[in-house]
């Protein structure tokens, strides 16, 4: 009987990147135990920030300040400060809104859907992905609010009983957005916070100054780690995951309705709901990778956010990118197949019209650049990973630009055709929204546990000290020690 030559752990394939199907790769590498994981994560919230943090925070805070100044200028002057015109009545604000809502999708996908799918690797990245979701939704929610023309009346969007018996237009998808995004933000915030309670209690117990003890003490809701607490925690987490799962699909579906319910060629496409959801996850994962790759290095978390986590995130990104590719192809094919003059024109205009540069930027960034991730070498090198992620970040913004601008700028009446030119306020607000996002994200990194310590510990071998008595293979455990066939045993 020949012996199989299994060269899985070659130098080109180190760490926990093994493809050996007889094992489940360990999700925490190095010589770590529960204590070391707690020390590595809690230390980040306890120590004085590094220089790079201050530099990044300074830049982000300035951009955030710029955003606030520009909002003030907008409110005082009116929406004419933007480049919006007729026929391009939707410009940068709606593009930025859809872009940021999309970014906000990955967090809940990782926390809720991957949790229901039993994807244990999510524990390494779910906390900061959820935080990213909250801040991205904040950025997103801001844009429609300031786009209504009279932002001080934005509360009219809510169905508040009033003496005039005036109600919002319930048949408008923009109103659906208010409910969809509002629900999503609420559930995401709850999910994020509930999952963080045990870790906040850890920070409370380790706090050395009075202020931290009080702050973390209030936030940790009296958590003491009793069985009863854990039982309730697990139940709440599962219920929130189940609630958040349809929300991941519904939010961006509703966002897509903003466009798809219209009779406008380029917007009215029945595939928009799942296509937008896939695009959102694509963009969201790109942002997760953009943040995770430097964060694991700068925070010294390479043994918790391992190369396997990055590899898996790249695969998810590639997969959702393929769905986006499918949607683009279907749209173009159906534009031809429809036999409709206007449908065909819009798609030809996208590829060959005055905004062809934006269209081909989108195609390169979303469909061509990220294809490097098919190659193992690219997925396992920070340069390849960051190249693909940055491509998608840019590409997904341009996707929304292409959808919004190119469908509008040449409408049914050629005499009303016009180009859209963003103003400095448009560009400043886009930059400022990144400032808002990173300001809050950096504050989160400084004050809250960036890794879900309690959850990571559940996927470590130490949490399954009796795993030998169990049947299934756990991370890091050999899955192949069962073989009823004597020949097989002999071969191994």
């Amino acid at each position: 009987m020949t012996t199989l030559d299994l060269q899985y752990d070659t130098p080109a394939n180190p760490g926990n990147l093994t493809d050996d199907p007889r094992q489940r790769a360990p999700l925490v590498t190095g010589d770590n135990d529960f204590t070391s994981v707690t020390n590595k994560v809690a230390r980040l919230a306890e120590k004085w920030p590094d220089l790079w943090w201050w530099v990044a925070f300074f830049i982000a805070l300035n951009l955030f300040g710029l955003l606030q100044v520009l909002i003030g200028y907008l409110v005082l002057t009116g929406v004419g400060v933007w480049g919006n015109n007729q026929p391009v009545s939707w410009g940068f604000p709606i593009i930025n809104f859809v872009f940021w809502v999309g970014i906000g999708h990955a967090g809940t996908l990782i926390s809720a859907i991957l949790y229901l799918f039993r994807q244990n690797w999510r524990t390494g990245i779910n906390r900061f992905a959820e935080a990213m979701t909250i801040f991205a939704v904040m950025c997103a929610g801001m844009f429609p609010g300031i786009h209504v023309g009279r932002p001080w009346l934005a509360y009219w969007l809510f169905p508040i009983p009033n003496q005039m018996d005036a109600w919002p237009q319930f048949r408008s998808p923009l109103l659906w957005d208010v409910f969809a995004v509002g629900t999503y933000a609420t559930v995401s915030l709850l999910f994020w916070y509930v999952g963080m309670v045990p870790d906040l209690a850890t920070l409370r117990d380790r706090a050395t100054n009075r202020l931290s003890q009080i702050a973390y003490g209030i936030l940790s809701l009296g958590w003491c780690g009793s069985s009863r607490h854990w039982h309730r925690f697990e139940r709440a987490y599962l219920i929130l995951a189940a609630l958040a799962t349809p929300l991941v699909l519904s939010v961006h579906s509703v966002v897509s309705f903003d466009f798809a319910v219209a009779q406008l060629p380029g917007w009215h496409s029945t595939i928009f709901p799942p296509y937008f959801v896939a695009g959102a996850i694509y963009g969201g994962f790109a942002m997760v990778i953009t943040l995770a790759v430097p964060a694991r290095k700068l925070f010294g978390l390479e043994e918790i956010i391992t190369e396997r986590h990055i590899d898996n995130a790249c695969r998810v990104m590639l997969g959702t990118g393929m769905i986006v590719f499918y949607a683009y192809s279907t749209e173009f094919f159906i534009a031809w197949y429809s036999g409709e003059h206007y449908e065909r024109f819009v798609f030809l205009n996208r590829a060959t019209g005055p905004y062809a540069w934006a269209f081909w930027t989108m195609i390169f960034c979303n469909l061509i650049g990220p294809q490097v991730l098919w190659f193992r070498q690219a997925r396992h090198h920070w340069l390849g990973v960051m190249f693909a992620a940055m491509c998608v970040n840019v590409g997904m913004w341009f996707e929304r630009f292409v959808i919004v601008i190119t469908s509008l700028h040449r409408d049914f009446l050629p005499s009303s055709w016009a180009m859209f030119h963003p103003t400095w306020v448009d560009l400043g607000m886009l930059a400022g929204s990144f400032g808002l996002f990173f300001t809050f994200f950096l504050l989160f990194c400084k004050f809250l546990p960036v890794i879900a310590m309690a959850e990571v510990k559940t996927v470590m071998p130490q949490a399954h000290a009796h795993s030998g008595e169990h049947g299934e293979a756990l991370p890091g455990e050999d899955a192949a020690d069962y073989r009823p066939d004597p020949h097989w045993v002999e071969r191994r």
Binding site: L4, L6, D19, D20, P21, R22, R24, F117, P246, L249, S253, F257, A260, V261, A262, Q263, H268, S269, T270, I271, F272, P273, P274, L318, G319, M322, Y326, A327, S329, T330, E331, I334, Y337, S338, G339, E340, W374, H464, E469, H470, G471, E472, A473, A479, A480, D481, Y482, R483, P484, D485, H487, W488, R491, R492
Partner: protein
Amino acid sequence: MSQHATTTLPEHEMQPLGDRARRWSLRLAVVGAAGLIAGFIAAMIMPGEGTGLQRFAFSYLTGFAFALSIGLGSLLLVLTTHLFRAGWVIVVRRVIECHAAAVSVLSVLLIPLLIYVFSGSGWPYPWAAAVVPRHGEPGVHVEPGHDEQSVHDVAAEIRNSKFEIRNSDYGDPAAATASMMDHMIHVKRPFLNAGVFTLLWTACFACWSILGVWYLRSSAAQDRSGDPHLTNQREKFAPLGTLLFAATLTLAAFIGLMSLDPTWYSTMFGVYYFSGSMIGALATIILVLMVLQNAGVISSVNIEHYHDLGKLLFAFVVFWAYIAYSQYMLIWYAAIPVEQPWTIVRGLSTVHHNGFSYFALFMLFGHFVLPFLFLLSRHVKRHRVMLAIGAAWMLFMHGADVFWLVLPPYQHETFPLPLPEILCMIGATAVLLAGAARYAAGVSVVAYGDPRLKDSLNFRNY
């Protein structure tokens, strides 16, 4: 998490099924042939809006699309479980693999459809008519032999006269629809023609057959050799296979089902057919596993596997509703004339009532609301009889869904009694199952050579 000691695999589950499966295959083939012949007879004698042969064209397509969806759903399950390196599925995967491989057998059932297309009758596809129907006229006759040049002449005539037709048809929706049909058939001619139809279906079946058979063979080879590299190999090709699958399924759905109304189009249609396919496949797999278990062929499948299959079935019930609702709502909301007739003939209108109006409500409640409430329960998914009821119901509703997609263009003012369609669906599905049983004859019922077998045998939901 598991609290149980390692389970072992019974010896008989590692033996090829052999003659037993061949006997099943033969019986199922007989049922398949009998079903299709009975469907033909029923179509010929059923009252309807066209001739018996015309009705059979639609009935046969219903049966074909239904059986194909089960095979394709199985193929995607094989591909995606490799894509995600799933461990829980190993015990049940061989049964799924056999169904996926059996898609190749369904290529035989394509022949009658090709005969219909090349006959120039225009059934079930109006674009395949040698004589392009014209409103208010007996037809522009192209004789003899309906050669291609003559069809182009007809198209040119339509093109040149379309404005005249539209003006003269003003205020007459039926006439407007007919002239639009003429125009659309003309502009879509590069895609909607017998040559592309044949080429596309041939390419699709080649692709599905290669994928299905290769995955089964690789898995069976692993039983003999135990080589874990085979798992790597299958996982390596899974992404490419999934891409090919998505492209071919979509094109097949477009030309096979969407083109029943050449004026209508929907970018969602491929996804819609896919969502139904997954329901059909999962329901079938659950039922087949239960039958095999009752027959004592497989005993390693336990309630945990059924629970996971039930969860997937539930997920796709919701997914189907999401896709169906999105497609319908967007068409309803935009109210574009070219899109609406497709929904109106299927009873999805509060203004135009027809034979499918109550059927549309039946789809809403039967395909989504009731199964959603039923399968939501953990208890149901972990109870064999209840899950079997749920799976059988969903298989029935998936059949109703395919019927709903295909039949209305044939007859919608009154509801067509679906006896020929039911018989054709039974017949075509029996052919698929006969193919699956034939493939099962040469392999064991469990992929015992898979390195993740232990994961699956001891899998527990938590």
